[in-house]
């Protein structure tokens, strides 16, 4: 029976829906029925002996008003809210069409606001929220070393540490490692020859443990076996797995497993193809190679090259794993039987380090997280300003529609009906703006990915998915409700009667309403202040970063990278690079040429333990951990413009002399010799660890070079050792060529390609660009953040100015009479001007104060992305306050000027 009832109700609603959509039982039909009822009642009354007029009245009393019955019937016939909605939408469309400028401005601001929010949220979603594309990704942990004294974080482990950790820990179900630097595949890139075309592709050397830890399965073929990635001799077998993307783009998806390709000049057999999107730590891996560890590297505890990824056992939390790790660190040496350079729980000396684990996703996102959230907050503010502005516009418009609403209320429209109507308009605007915004977001994100492919990690995973769509829809709707409510909130609908009475629509009860509009201006100004302060601080940061003295002259400097892979060996590479340098030096437009192993300012610290004569490091050991080794060839210091502050530079004669010289940087000289003269002191560069060849003989310090920012302009300068490859007559496979030239890279490229081809036709030139763009690239994230934040701050400022202008104009119009009287009584134009401007500036000042307070609150958010400037930097704050006040004064001036031009005759007669 209950179910039957429910069915009946469903049936009723279906009928009502049909009643709305199909217009069943038209009004005349219903009216006829009621009419008949009334007539019959009248006849009955007459038959009881009443006069005709009385009979009609009696019948009417008895049956109740027909209009009410009709309303009730209409409500019952269809779905009233659906009917109303259709009517509101219709009405809204007409209203919006009648005011095209308002509609266009509203749509544009909304599209920008919602679009920006959606775009940034799609980044938040794709980069921060969406889990990695591995099975049970939350179990994956990145294990790294930290050298607090050297300021190094997320550093690799040594081979021994990795093997020991794998042995003694209980928390992980599987652990694997990879390397992208050092050794034969030196840079995480290899030369790949496919169909005669030399290509430079991203590579990674992995052990079998890593692949099973990640849980990747090949799309074709197989993965590496444990034996293949741990050959005793340390030479990896010539096998390769290629990425799905490389397979598709370069090999056209042809059958490939079992065939061979040239990787760094050596034939490699392709054993498998990875599934689409498979990668490690955002490395953009195109080719996977088996890990090979020569004994020298395997044994050397100072050589940190292993990037370690572990998978937690089921039920083990990251916290529990870190707790276990901390316990292991307490007595690592006792547990493993190794004593020198072991990780410790309390690192004190320069070489001391500790181990840390963090979720792989956090490690990938790294420092980008902060920037992304800053952007989300910024665009959120921007949307709020847009909302406040639209609320203002809508309120101003509602002002002019007071009479319309009053008339409709008098005709029986309920308050909630009118409220719903203004809301419908707001939501309609927002839905349209939201759709525009969604389109804008798509375009913007694609443009961002194209323009800054490496500015954000996991960029390829950013897209507009269902979650983002829901977000955009939710934001649009909330926005619409928010600013659609505003006109109602000011109590307009409460006093409809007054609107009719005062006639012209100029209300006498202005005070209360203005509070909301004033508050909106204050909010807009406050939010704009916060945005502009953020943008100002970031612009200062970028300025500071660009003006850091990197230690060399980067103007008119062009650089490129190249790799001389097999069949070259260290001994044949040296002369080959030497030939190239000789050719480059005399090329037209080239003033100087040199070759170096690491390209500043993008190097990662190498931390190579180095013996120094008569020296004991702070931790008591005889070695000093040197952050960077720079292997150079040719007129390195002259070409780069690195000043030699003491001693001399390398000279061609050095190559022939039996004694070997090195040059140290100021930081290393100060750390080791502490004010004593470093010239003539002896060090023993750890060549085998640093470059994989050469004997570790004693070298004499012949000069001290000015500090160069090797690891980034914002980083502390590390210690650095320069070794001359001219003396060694050898070279590493991959080197960076640098030219001092009067020509731009584009003009040089043909010459360079020809010269490199003369040395070896199979070698591609990689990343040919000027040093300025290398620097721009190294600060791309703060720069991008500054640009985006700057753009939004500018727009916010504009919106706030428009808002202030609008409200002030309105208030000035309201005060026309008063101002007219003042002028009539002899007030000067300038005093009227001051009167109105003062009113506006008061609001601005409150807004600035609130904004400053808010900005101080947000200090913590932005502090970590700043460089060389405090969040409370007085200069920036003063500049921002000045700017905002000037803009506000401008916005106030126009309405004030108009008010001061009022003709009292016209105004006072007008009312």
């Amino acid at each position: 029976m209950r179910q039957g009832d429910r069915m009946r109700v469903v049936r009723e609603w279906l009928h009502r829906l049909a009643g709305t959509l199909l217009r069943r039982r038209c009004d005349t039909d219903l009216e006829a029925e009621l009419q008949l009822h009334l007539e019959m009642a009248t006849e009955d009354a007459r038959s009881r002996g009443l006069e005709p007029a009385d009979a009609v009245r009696a019948a009417q009393v008895k049956t109740g008003p027909a209009s009410q019955a009709m309303d009730a019937l209409r409500d019952q016939r269809g779905l009233p809210w659906l009917d109303d909605l259709a009517r509101d939408v219709n009405h809204g469309l007409r209203t919006l069409r009648r005011t095209p400028v308002f509609t266009a401005v509203a749509l544009l601001t909304l599209a920008l606001g919602i679009g920006a929010n959606t775009a940034i949220f799609s980044i938040v979603n794709g980069v921060l929220l969406r889990p990695l594309d591995y099975p049970k990704p939350a179990q994956l942990m990145f294990v790294t070393t930290e050298f607090p004294e050297l300021g190094l974080t997320r550093n690799p482990l040594s081979v021994q540490e990795y093997l020991e950790f794998r042995q003694i820990n209980q928390s992980f179900a599987a652990i694997g490692a990879y390397r992208t630097t050092g050794g034969a595949y030196a840079t995480g890139e290899v030369n790949l020859t496919a169909g005669g075309r030399p290509l430079r592709v991203r590579s990674i050397s992995v052990d079998a443990g890593l692949l099973s830890t990640l849980g990747v399965q090949p799309a074709q073929g197989r993965l590496f076996t444990a034996e293949e990635t741990s050959r005793a001799g340390g030479l990896a077998p010539p096998l390769a797995i290629i990425s799905y993307e490389l397979w598709q783009s370069v090999f056209g998806g042809q059958p490939l497993v079992g065939q061979t390709v040239d990787v760094d000049g050596r034939r490699h057999e392709i054993v498998g193809i990875m599934p689409s999107g498979a990668d490690v730590m955002d490395n953009h891996t195109a080719i996977w190679l088996p890990l090979g560890l020569p004994a020298a590297i395997r044994q050397n505890r100072g050589f940190h090259i292993m990037n370690v990824v572990g998978r937690l056992k089921d039920g083990v939390t990251p916290h529990a794993a870190q707790t276990e790790l901390n316990a292991l660190l307490e007595n690592w040496d006792e547990r493993t039987g190794s004593s020198s350079h072991v990780p410790t729980s309390r690192p004190a000396g320069a070489a001391d380090h500790t181990l840390r684990i963090e979720p792989v996703q956090d490690a990938i996102v790294g420092d980008a997280r902060r920037s992304i959230w800053i952007m989300q907050v910024a665009v959120g503010f921007f949307l709020l300003i847009a909302c406040a502005n639209l609320a203002n516009l809508l309120m101003a418009r509602a002002e002019s529609r007071r009479r319309e609403f009053a008339v409709r209320a008098a005709l029986g429209a309920s308050r909630s009906r009118l409220l719903r109507q203004t809301m419908t308009e707001g939501v309609m605007l927002c839905v349209a703006g939201g759709m525009l915004g969604l389109w804008l977001a798509r375009v913007a994100v694609q443009a961002l990915i194209r323009a800054y492919p490496t500015s954000v990690p996991r960029l390829s995973e950013i897209n507009i998915d269902l979650f983002v769509l829901l977000f955009a829809f939710g934001v649009s709707l909330a926005t619409g409700v928010l600013f659609g409510l505003a006109p109602a909130a000011q109590g307009r609908l409460r006093d409809l009667a007054t609107a009719l009475k005062v006639g012209g629509g100029r209300a006498a009860d202005g005070g209360g309403r203005h509070h909301i509009r004033r508050a909106l201006v204050v909010v807009e100004v406050a939010l704009a202040v916060m945005l502009v302060i953020g943008a100002g601080l970031l612009i200062r940061t970028v300025y500071n970063l660009t003006s850091v003295d990197a230690g060399f002259d980067r103007s008119r400097l062009v650089t490129f990278s190249m790799t001389l892979a097999e069949p070259y060996d260290p001994d044949t590479r040296g002369p080959a690079y030497q030939r190239l340098v000789d050719k480059l030096r005399v090329a037209p437009g080239v003033l100087g040429a040199a070759v170096m192993s690491g390209l500043p300012p993008n190097r990662s610290p190498e931390a190579i333990p180095t013996r120094i004569e008569n020296y004991t490091a702070s931790d008591g050991s005889a070695v000093e951990i040197v952050d960077y080794y720079q292997f150079v060839m040719g007129d390195y210091f002259e070409t780069m413009g690195v000043p030699i502050v003491a001693g001399r530079s390398f000279e061609p004669a050095d190559a022939a002399s039996p004694g070997r010289g090195v040059i140290v940087n100021e930081t290393l000289a100060n750390r080791v010799w502490k004010g004593r003269n470093p010239i003539g002191q002896r060090v023993r560069p750890n060549l085998s660890a640093a470059i994989g060849f050469g004997d570790d003989s004693w070298h004499t310090v012949i000069g001290v070079a000015k500090d160069v920012k090797q690891g980034g302009v914002e980083k502390k300068t590390g210690t650095e050792l320069y070794v001359s490859l001219d003396q060694l007559a050898m070279a590493a496979p991959t080197m960076n060529v640098v030219l001092r030239t009067i020509l731009p890279p584009a003009a040089l490229s043909r010459t360079l390609e020809r010269l490199v081809r003369e040395v070896d036709p199979a070698v591609p030139i990689v990343r040919l660009r000027d040093m300025e763009s290398v620097f721009a690239e190294s600060i791309r994230r703060p720069r991008l953040l500054a640009q985006l934040l700057g753009a939004f701050a500018g727009l916010a400022l504009l919106l706030a100015a428009v808002g202030t202008y609008g409200v002030l104009s309105y208030m000035a119009t309201e005060r026309r009479r008063e101002i007219g009287i003042r002028i009539a009584l002899g007030a000067g134009r300038s005093s009227v001007l001051a009167l109105v401007v003062k009113q506006g500036l008061q609001l601005t000042i409150i807004g600035v104060v609130v904004g400053l307070a808010g900005a101080l609150e947000l200090n913590r958010l932005i502090a970590s992305v700043l460089f060389g400037v405090q969040p409370t930097d007085p200069t920036t704050l003063a500049a921002v306050i000045m700017t905002i006040t000037l803009v506000a004064a401008g916005a106030c001036w126009l309405p004030a000027w108009r008010a001061s031009r009022l003709d009292p005759n016209v105004v006072l007669k007008g009312d």
């Binding site: 009946r8 049936r11 008895k62 109740g64 008003p65 009730a72 409500d75 019952q76």
Partner: protein, 115 residues
């Protein structure tokens, strides 16, 4: 705007459907005025339904498939809409009647003691 009842005697919530169905079941197809007149007569004038109460109720019952309304001719030769219960309406009436009787019995016992 809302269909509030202004009958002289308040129609007990939910009983209007029952009364309309019973009237039509016992007297055959009737138009709206005849239903109202019948209820007034039965209640000795205590129950006066205004149009705003009666017609929406008729429409609701029709939408639920308990009544069917058709245009016909009255004895005074006027076009009027005649309502008749459907078979579902008659079944519903029987059920509602039982439920009413039970409830009335319970209320009576409750109000006037065990007797």
């Amino acid at each position: 705007m809302s269909n509030r009842t202004t009958a002289k005697a308040d129609v007990l919530q939910g009983t209007l459907d029952l009364m309309v169905l019973q009237t039509l079941n016992s007297l055959g197809p009737l138009h709206g005025y005849a239903i109202a007149a019948r209820l007034e007569q039965v209640s000795s004038g205590a129950l006066q339904l205004n149009m705003g109460t009666l017609y929406p109720a008729l429409m609701r019952l029709e939408q639920r498939g308990l009544l069917r309304g058709n245009w016909g001719i009255t004895e005074t030769n006027r076009k009027a809409r005649f309502y008749a219960p459907t078979s579902a309406g008659r079944r519903q009436l029987a059920r509602e009647k039982d439920a009413w009787d039970r409830m009335a019995g319970i209320i009576h016992t409750l109000l006037h003691g065990e007797a």
